[in-house]
């Protein structure tokens, strides 16, 4: 077991930031912590790293209790923070060397690791640049390089793709998968469900300081009723009778908003065909049609009654 969090409670006055949080992370996982802003993800990370005192609970990393003086455990951890935490006065190379040097004292080994880290995130051409001269995407890559240069066993990434362009985001996500393939266990927090779905082997969905659901991407989607998400553009909606659609088997909900018809159905084969047949029979003209499996947003919506991005 890499991480074991048991009944973790953190209060800020009357506000309960973490409410008896329980988590377990296995070796080799990319573990996603998904939740809206303010759900307690960063607080959990700060408690995990002993950067924040907590009121109750136990935290073990590599089967050893975690505390501020647990330097042997800290040696095995890499941290990529939500905000870019680098020195504006140092160059790209000097920044990575500084943070790597907090873990690795051997100069020669460090030089090699810094080069590898720059290579890994693709900022070798900018080694002499100061952070102020880097674009947002490059800055994020530097932030990652500073956290992973010492090749840690456990990498904690707190929303590393916030405010990053799509190209850099894809590059970062690919990098994370490469790190995992190289043997690192990764904890990845985000409020972007697509990212979590894309790279995480196991996911915990958090809300109000609690884990409300956890499991693999597929298993999480199985715990909700929604099995299919159908969207149809209706060009003459005045002829449409929603009750007729609701009467079909497996249909959970039908909603018409303007010309957009949204249908949620439970798992089952051929949910879409009978609906399209009905529309054709009633001379209803249709535009675009989409049929998608449920997303983690649907999971969150069904459990909490609110959108993940609210």
């Amino acid at each position: 077991m890499v991480i074991k969090i048991k009944n973790l409670v953190k209060r800020y006055g009357d506000l309960i930031a973490l409410d008896h949080l329980n988590l377990e992370v296995q070796k080799g996982e990319i573990f996603g912590l998904l939740g809206p802003n303010g759900s307690g993800k960063t607080t959990a990370i700060n408690c995990l790293l002993s950067l924040l005192k907590y009121d109750k609970g136990e935290i073990e990393i590599y089967d050893t209790p975690m505390h501020p003086e647990a330097y042997e455990i800290k040696k095995r951890i890499g941290l990529v923070m939500q905000n870019v935490a680098v020195f504006n006065e140092l160059t790209v190379y000097e920044n990575i060397d500084y943070f790597c040097g907090l873990y690795i004292s051997d100069k020669q080994k460090r030089r090699q690791l810094v080069e590898e880290a720059m290579d890994f995130v693709g900022i070798k051409d900018f080694r002499k640049f100061t952070p102020k001269k880097l674009s947002g995407g490059l800055l994020r890559r530097l932030n990652i390089a500073c956290g992973i240069a010492h090749k840690p066993d456990l990498i904690i990434m707190d929303e590393p793709t916030v405010a990053v362009d799509p190209q850099s985001r894809n590059s970062i996500l690919e990098g994370i998968q490469k790190l995992n393939a190289a043997g690192a266990t990764i904890i990845y927090t985000s409020h972007y469900m697509e990212e979590v779905e894309q790279i995480c082997s196991r996911i915990a969905i958090m809300d109000k300081g609690k884990v409300i659901a956890s499991g693999s991407n597929d298993s999480l989607k199985e715990i909700i009723k929604t099995g299919e998400h159908i969207s149809i553009e209706i060009l003459n909606p005045q002829n449409l009778d929603l009750d007729e659609i609701s009467d079909f088997a497996n249909i959970l909900s039908v909603d018409l908003s303007g010309s957009q018809l949204t249908i949620k159905s439970s798992r089952g084969k051929n949910n879409l065909i009978p609906i399209l047949d009905l529309l054709k029979h009633r001379d209803i003209q249709i535009g675009k049609v989409f049929s998608e499996p449920p997303t983690l947003n649907d999971v969150f919506l069904e459990i909490t009654g609110k959108e993940l991005r609210d």
Binding site: N83, V86, E94, F99
Partner: protein, 389 residues
């Protein structure tokens, strides 16, 4: 030593701002010490006073000799013998002394009788006293010749007197002006150092601490295996190194300006005092760096604090010219005691006894300020750490 190295890299990035204070200090200190002139006169020029002579006596060889003597020792001004003209000349300082030689003066003097000369001069005039001495000296010497010498004629008497008074003495002023000049120059230099050191240390230490106190950088450092004690020690060592480097640079310059004085006992005491002050200023800079939250605030505090304490403590204007209230307020800053000690060191005729005790007490006070403020800073940091976690 990652933190220590980063400390100096950050200092180097701020070198322009810090250098400005150093350059201003060097230029001003060198310019002031080079152009310094002592208020004490160091040369001697013989001068003569203006006198008006009214002669009512009959001509004689002795009288001619006496008038010739007066001509050598004073500037004779011709004035009409009327009371109004004479008083006006005295009032308007055309003459400093009016001498009237009465009728029968020479004859009575040579006969050994008691004689008197009439004089008019401004009250308490030193020039008049000087002239009195000169005239008495001439007449007393003549009297001595007449009483005890083998003088047979007025020619011989006048000749002897001329011979005696023709001897002149060369004047050499023996004083400590060279040494006191150096001391005053160095007092000015070391007093001015207080301003520059304060500004440089506040700017340097604040610039670094602003970066290391950034919450994200702090978190990243504390998440690493770097022990807190090690981290703090590297920051303290960096601050100390920076302060000592700045101090050494300024002290080295004082040796270039006047190495003879700096190798003296007084010079070494100035160095000790400035070192203790540097430590105290560092402690205050460290305190300020934990209060300041932005770079603009950092520059403002550096200017206001360094200039303010320097003004009220006698760095730019001597303490004797400052009011009691100002000095009372200044006594709550280490700069005041530092300047006081500098002035005492350089003005002391000898460094022993109570003078030395006073100087060492003031140096100890400067050190006390440093220790007290460091203590307050540590308590502040401890409370903040507890609040943060």
């Amino acid at each position: 030593m990652q933190v220590y190295k980063a400390f100096f890299k950050i200092i180097l990035k701020n070198r322009m701002q810090i250098s400005i204070y150093l350059i201003v200090f060097i230029v001003l200190a060198v310019a002031f010490t080079a152009s310094y002139t002592s208020p004490v006169s160091t040369d001697f020029t013989e001068s003569k006073i203006n006198i008006a002579l009214i002669n009512e006596d009959e001509d004689s060889v002795f009288l001619d000799g006496f008038i010739a003597y007066l001509t050598v020792n004073a500037n004779l001004v011709n004035l009409p013998d009327d009371p109004q003209s004479l008083q006006d000349a005295l009032f308007f300082q055309e003459v400093d002394y009016i001498l009237r030689i009465p009728d029968g003066f020479s004859q009575d003097f040579l006969a050994g009788q008691t004689v008197s000369l009439e004089k008019t001069a401004a009250p308490n005039s030193t020039s008049a006293t000087f002239m009195d001495l000169r005239i008495n000296q001439y007449l007393n010497t003549a009297q001595t010749y007449l009483n005890y010498g083998n003088v047979v004629s007025q020619y011989e008497l006048v000749s002897s007197l001329q011979n005696d008074f023709s001897n002149s003495s060369s004047v050499t002023l023996n004083s400590h002006t060279d040494e006191s000049d150096s001391a005053e120059k160095m007092a000015y230099y070391y007093n001015f150092m207080a301003y520059s050191l304060f500004a440089i240390l506040i700017l340097g230490v604040c610039a670094v601490m602003l970066v290391f106190n950034d919450s994200d950088i702090k978190k990243r450092n504390f998440a690493s295996p770097l022990k807190t004690l090690n981290y703090n020690s590297q920051l303290v060592l960096g601050s100390l190194s920076f302060a000592v480097l700045a101090w050494l640079l300024m002290v080295a310059l004082s040796f270039i300006i006047n190495s003879d004085f700096m190798f003296s006992e007084k010079g070494l005491l100035l160095i000790l005092n400035s070192f203790v002050f540097t430590m105290s200023a560092l402690s205050i800079s460290f305190f300020i760096s934990n209060l300041v939250k932005s770079r603009s605030a950092m520059s403002a505090v550096a200017n206001v604090f360094a200039l303010g304490t320097s003004f009220i403590s006698g760095v730019f204007v001597e303490q004797v010219y400052l009011g009691d209230t100002v000095l009372s307020i200044a006594s709550f800053t280490p700069t005041y005691w530092y300047v006081k000690a500098n002035n005492a060191i350089t003005s002391a005729s000898s460094l022993s006894g109570s003078t030395l005790t006073d100087i060492l007490t003031w140096i100890a006070l400067v050190l006390g300020f440093g220790i007290a403020i460091l203590g307050v800073t540590l308590v502040l940091l401890k409370n903040r750490k507890v609040e943060a976690r």
